[in-house]
Amino acid sequence: MGRRFFSDVVKFITPIILAMILLGCVRKDGNAPKKIAVVISTLNNPWFVVLGESAAQKARDLGYETTIFDSQNNTAKEAEHFENLIAAGYSAVLFNPTDAEGSVSNVNRAKQAGIPTFCMDREVNSLEGPVTQIISDSFSGCVDLGQYFVRQMNKKGKYVELLGLVGDNNTWNRSKGFHSVVDHFPDLKMVAQQSADFDRNKAMEVLESVLQSNPDIDAVFCGNDAMAMGAYQALVSAGKADSVMVFGFDGTEDVMNAIKNKKIMATAMQSPKFMAQTAAELADKYLKGERNMDRKMPITVEVVTQDNISEFDAYGSEN
């Protein structure tokens, strides 16, 4: 009886499945919405969450189905996502790469499958692979921030630099941009340069230790805003929050509020919302036939200070 029942079920279900497959094929050629994939290097950081969600939201507003993929800062994971999204028939990829070199092959694989890629925030070292790259110009942003730093310091004093992850491109782009300005002033002395892995707790602990050997510093330059908040907390518990200036990079909500309240001197605003929305719009234009696009679009990083803070929103303006 069990077997009989089972075969009845199979007989009943098979035509339904066949019909669904056939109808599915018909629908796909009809008016089903196209799908856009959003592949983000990591969702472990609010800045990237904003980047991913803004891209997905804009694509949805333009009438596409979207899915966000999290590469967990792992290029191998990213490769799997690309394999899956090629197999699943996505029409375009809004892409925030994990690695400038490692991600190139993923972009090329999508291109061979006829799927255009649009890079956001970070670039890949390939001009031919992606349709366009909308890049946050970290280096120039830190040049501007460095100039503001020099003015605030009156060209002399001791400072500490907190680096991000030492294996990360962005860490060194930011550090190099900053030093390209600041190193021209011999009276500005860097008394310590330490890594705090872009992490708030690590930054606090590292600065606590640094303050032991260098209690008389005048400023801390941090490679991102999470570290700036951690550094500020270490200064508060050491009773030096008023005498030491803190500089961050990113433009996150925490730090924007801290700048408003005169706790942190300045940050550099990268606009994840603007970059993400631009990428989604360009993808839409591309899918509608537009081919005339710049290979690279550097997006200016603006210095946010206590004087001009009123002109900015956290995570950048909408476009």
């Binding site: 969702l43 472990n44 950081n45 609010p46 969450v49 680096l163 030492v166 008394v191 310590a192 340069q193 330490q194 890594s195 992490d199 708030r200 707790n201 606090m204 602990e205 590292v206 606590e208 230790s209 640094v210 032991q212 050997s213 999470a226 908040m229 951690g230 907390q233 518990s237 925490d254």
Partner: protein, 322 residues
């Protein structure tokens, strides 16, 4: 013979002492009270987690999920404190006091630990795999709960736990001392403590002599979860912020502290005080390398070699274990 056994018995204290002398000679800022408190405060979270990890490793298990449980418990406590629980469909809003929120976080940590223990005993999932699964589950739950954004602005009462002072000592250090004191008493002078060692020493013998092994193991993993939650609450309070990526790779620091402290990964041998010394060595090394402004590249290499040397010494002293 006597000198040799004494040296072996106190090897981590001797190593710690040598390390401190070297650092004190290299930097005059090392042996200051402020730096001492900094180091103590910085290792307090690792010590809390590592006490739980020691119990787990004594039963010949491992707990890879402590970092994620720490993040989730901290985020739960922060979320309850800041937003409470709002159920519009029942027209119900529950607010939480600082105490209630902390209790909530600790219950969540204990619950996840209990789940680990249940998987390991009821379904015979190897501890490595069960807690590896929990590592991603709890991390995902943290993301879900926080939406990927830090929960900040938790008020000064909550901040007191991580940043306040009481009778001349920082609060995290008080909490850690209490945790360590209880753990030392439990492992040395209670039946439960002896059972933990017995299971790690020889599980079948322990079973044959009538111990309820499953029950003890479940308790051990639940305690590891609770202690991870305590660490999570200290961290959240110190930062005035529950970070979604908090506690990333803390399980490795914790295992390092346990191993440097002389606890055997094959179970049955080790001590809470050894683990405290292991955590102190790591903390002193971290602080000292920054104090001397050693390049971040070299710091990682040096720390790796310290772990290797500790384990090699342990191997030499206990050649008959597998």
């Amino acid at each position: 013979m006597n000198i040799k056994t004494t040296v072996i018995k106190f090897q981590s204290i001797i190593a710690l002492f040598i390390l401190c002398v070297v650092l004190a000679l290299l930097s005059d800022k090392f042996l200051t009270p402020e730096n001492g408190w900094n180091i103590m405060r910085q290792i307090s979270i690792n010590v809390c987690i590592s006490v739980g990890m020691t119990l787990v490793i004594l039963t010949r298990g491992i707990d890879l999920s402590v970092g994620s449980i720490l993040a989730f418990s901290g985020a739960v406590a922060a979320g309850l404190l800041k937003y409470g629980i709002d159920i519009p469909s029942l027209n119900l809003y529950i607010g939480f006091t600082v105490f209630g929120a902390i209790l909530g976080g600790i219950l969540v940590g204990g619950g996840l630990g209990l789940f680990n223990g249940w998987m390991i005993t009821r379904f015979k999932v190897p501890p490595f795999v069960a807690t590896l699964a929990m590592l991603t589950i709890a991390r995902g739950a943290t993301m879900l709960w926080t939406g990927g954004f830090p929960i900040t602005g938790l008020g000064e009462h909550f901040a007191f736990i991580g940043t306040g002072w009481f009778l001349g000592m920082p609060m995290p250090v008080w909490i850690t001392i209490i945790v360590v004191a209880i753990a030392v008493i439990v492992t040395r002078s209670t039946k439960f403590g002896r059972y933990v060692y017995a299971i790690g020493g020889n599980e079948s013998a322990a079973r044959l002599s009538g111990l309820n092994i499953n029950k003890i193991k479940i308790w051990v993993y639940a305690l590891a979860g609770i202690l991870a939650a305590v660490g999570g609450i200290i961290l959240t309070s110190r930062l005035d912020s529950a970070q979604p990526n908090a506690g990333f790779s803390y399980e490795l620091d914790s295992i390092a502290a346990v191993v440097i402290g002389g606890t055997s990964l094959s179970g049955g041998r080790g001590s809470i005080m050894g683990t405290v010394q292991g955590a102190l060595i790591i903390g002193v090394l971290n602080s000292g390398l920054v104090l001397l402004n050693v390049s971040p590249f070299w710091q990682q290499i040096i720390k790796g070699f310290v772990i290797l040397i500790a384990v090699i010494l342990d191997r030499v002293n206990h050649p008959n274990e597998d």
